[in-house]
Amino acid sequence: MTDDERARELTPPSAPALRLRGISKRYGPVVASDNVDLDVHHGEIHGLLGENGAGKSTLMKILLGLVQRDSGTIMRGETPVDVHNPQAAVALGIGMVHQHFSLIDALTVWENVILGDTGKIDRAAACRQVEEVSRRYGLPIDPTARVDRLSAGERQRVELIKCLRRDPSVLILDEPTSVLTQAESAELFTVLRHVVRAENRAVILISHKLAEITAATDRVTVLRKGKVVFHSETSATTPPELARQMVGRDVSLRAEGAALGMLPVDGAPAPADPGTGTGTDAAAPGTAPALRLRDLTVTIDGVAVLSDLSLDVAPGEIVGLYGVEGNGQSTLGDLLSGLVLPTSGTVELAGRPVELDRPGALHRAGLGIIPEDRHSSGVVLDMSVAENLVMKSIGDVSGRGFISRRRMHAIARRLAAEFNIVTPSMDTPVRSLSGGNQQRVVLARELSAGPGVLIAAQPTHGLDVGAIEDMYQRLRDAASGGVAVLLISTELEEVMALASRIAVISSGRITGVLSTGEATAERLGMLVGGVAA
């Protein structure tokens, strides 16, 4: 069947590779999957689109046997099947490429590839298979290499090989491009094309990025709050339609496109930025930068994770630091959180160098930070909302050596009101708040100290569109209030929408700084790949 024929036919004649009917799953009061119907056919890439928390992952976990459904039927072809554990999923020919957490660092490539199989281990055969699969799909890899020595792109290859070696008829990919450069993403989609066209497999591509879905899929299903709300051939729909279905209301791609993973539309005005104008030059002459990173180098185990990184951010300016995950951004975030010390280089705030080896020095010098992984360093999940809000200023709510709970609660109530933190009480553990509210707790704490500089590292990761929009607004407000904002992000759309200047990071160095006016996806793509533009 040619592509054209396929495109013409709305319903392929063969039975679907996978058919879900009425799948439901509740977690306590939360409905993660609500009566979901889904048909995935051989020879197609099926996009599964939805916001964070729309139920995409739950659905896939059900398919993989990691979670048990409450009701509904799963059919392979015409036969109802039961997927009660991951082995059963493998036996049914369902394979998944996970976003994170599926390779064991300390094992070699071939060991990882055969992990989860059964039967005797045959090293030679396993290596042969790896090489064969890698040749067939153009995914070069050394089967005897240890996984912890591989780059993100190579790891993704191993994941793919691991999955494809089992010859799955249904292949599921969960946000596969989040750690890849554009070139690597292109390579991935080429392989996927080959997998569906030449080998007639079915691919489910899970994503929250509109652009990716429109570019790479044949059909698309949109999930919202656990329900299937839209289903169509990809060619028969438009990004605005998909966006509307995903969010459940009309959205303007111009204003909210970034939150949905779409680039600002052509001719969109540069974001309101009265303070500094747009130029490649740093701040307006005369004003000292609020934040100055100078020649920062961080070496971990002999590897330079950051090398000679220099960047200035002026008061009132939002600078985006854009790059693919794993290029040193998290180390920079850790450094600016006081968790890691630079091997060399300095951080200056308002013109004064900060003594980074003194605990809390950055905070005292007026730097606020929304860390990349709020659970690991942003909040203490088992402590209360009030405690988390005053965490950095516990001395201020204490008198004569004792903590004043009254004062602590007063401050907490004020901040909760100001930042719209929805919580049953100030004594509720942060663990039981939603992601958006947890993020607001962090933001409220950091901004309440009146910082001159705000670092926002992946501030919208895992939030829904409403919360993302709220976060964008607060970042813009902070900047227009004179705070220097450094936005560290892997989302191109996000930095394009918010920042007036974009610095691109690749392999721990800044490969270029562009104003939003000069920045195009192509130029940024080159820089991300490490090519100076």
């Binding site: 509740r26 977690y27 306590g28 979670v67 048990q68 459904r69 409450d70 009660h84 554990n85 961080v298 070496t299 971990i300 185990d301 994770v305 180390t331 959180s337 006081g338 968790l339 890691v340 010390l341 630079p342 091997t343 080896d357 605990p359 809390g360 020095a361 905070h363 005292r364 930070i369 860390p371 690991s376 360093s377 942003g378 909040v379 203490v380 999940l381 088992d382 402590m383 405690e387 965490m391 950095k392 516990i394 001395g395 204490s398 050596g401 004792f402 903590i403 553990p429």
Partner: protein, 392 residues
């Protein structure tokens, strides 16, 4: 300093401790604990009955030895004091996320330091006692501090190093009481010398407060109760305690919030060691023993004190009644032998009690989680592993 050496502790023990400090627990946990306690008592009784003893007589003997009269109460309280000191220390380190299990060794080091001060320094009068206690706390605090140092410099797991250091401490004390130039007792005529020190001078002994008819409240107990109250207040009401809790719950966030992670963690470990060391000094100087340093002076008080903290779920005030219970078992255990039931029985009872207190909250939490996540599939998922295990 390079970035890697400044990197934050990876927190093996910390994650464990999160499981050690279960959150709020409702009536299910209480019910489960009561049930588990009954099972533990039933098992203990069954053990006595099967081996030909009489459970009723054993309970009677336990009561006789621990609570029947003022003398018995005195002995119970003498055991309670060091147990409580160790337990309070264990609470401090556990709160900070560092799981110290080397109390037995720290008790020994404390006793060693106190004995050396008491026997080798020419201090007279009541000052001696103060210096002895201070020396015990300092020495044992430094001993525990070594584990913190090993962790900080080389990432050595605290649980493992405190455990290994216990065995080192045992040999240090054995060495000290075998060396005449250190602490071995003086030779009197041709009498053989034992591996033990001379008895402490009277000014080095912990006296009793108040002379109620036969009931003696030893200074050690006062010390322990004061320590428990102070630590409880410090943990729950002061910025220091706030930082300590933050460190225990999430060290990265604590470091981020400007807590001096290494210093605070080291201090917590040292304080827990110091309190165990005080317990060692109390064992040496109070009438619970023979007031000589002997290799067996710790009498497993270190291990038991740790168990007290576990049962009290790392809350110093809750540790008071638990330490009392363990004191009752200890002093009552001595009376068991008279009924033909070996006193080792109390060790069995203690272990079962700890299990009865530790397991239920975890189990209740687990059941709740299973219910909320896999309501319908729960039974199915339970069935598979059992079948698989049968094959294995």
């Amino acid at each position: 300093m390079t970035a890697s050496s400044a990197a934050v502790p990876s927190g093996t023990g910390r994650r464990l401790l999160r499981h050690l400090n279960p959150g709020p627990y409702g009536w299910q946990t209480t019910a489960a604990t009561v049930l588990a306690l009954l099972v533990a008592l039933a098992l203990s009784s069954a053990l006595i009955a099967i081996t030909g003893g009489s459970p009723a007589a054993s309970v009677q003997a336990l009561f006789q030895g621990s609570m029947a009269d003022w003398t018995a109460w005195t002995s119970t309280l003498l055991y309670m004091a060091p147990l409580l000191l160790v337990a309070v220390g264990a609470c401090v380190s556990a709160r900070s996320g560092l799981f110290n299990i080397g109390q037995e060794g720290q008790v020994l080091i404390g006793a060693l330091a106190a004995a050396w001060v008491g026997l080798r320094l020419a201090i007279t009068g009541p000052v001696l006692l103060v210096v002895m206690l201070a020396a015990a706390a300092l020495a044992a605090g430094a001993w525990a501090g070594l584990s913190s140092l090993m962790y900080r410099l080389r990432g050595v797991n605290v649980v493992v190093s405190t455990m290994l250091m216990t065995f080192v401490a045992q040999q240090v004390v054995a060495y000290a009481v075998n060396m005449p130039w250190l602490l071995q007792e003086s030779r009197v005529g041709n009498a053989p010398v034992s591996p033990q020190s001379n008895p402490l001078p009277p000014s080095g002994l912990l006296g009793s407060f108040g002379e109620y008819p036969d009931l003696q409240i030893n200074g050690g107990l006062i010390l322990a109760v004061v320590a428990a109250v102070l630590v409880a207040v410090a943990i729950t009401r002061t910025p220091w305690g706030f930082r300590l809790t933050m460190l225990g719950r999430n060290p990265l966030a604590a470091k981020h919030a400007g807590v001096r992670v290494n210093a605070l963690g080291g201090a917590a470990l040292a304080i827990s060691g110091a309190l165990a060391g005080l317990a060692g000094a109390v064992l040496l100087a109070s009438p619970v023993g023979v007031n000589r340093l002997q290799p067996g002076i710790a009498m497993n008080i270190g291990w038991d004190g740790l168990l007290v903290a576990l049962v009290a779920r790392n809350r110093p005030l809750a540790a008071m009644p638990v330490a009392l219970l363990f004191g009752v078992l200890r002093s009552g255990g001595g009376f068991l032998a008279a009924t033909g039931v070996p006193s080792f029985l109390v060790d069995v009872v203690k272990a079962l009690l700890v299990l009865a207190f530790v397991a239920p909250p975890v189990v209740v939490a687990l059941v709740r989680r299973r219910r909320s996540s896999d309501r319908t599939a729960g039974s199915r998922r339970e069935a598979t592993p059992v079948a698989e295990e049968a094959i294995a």
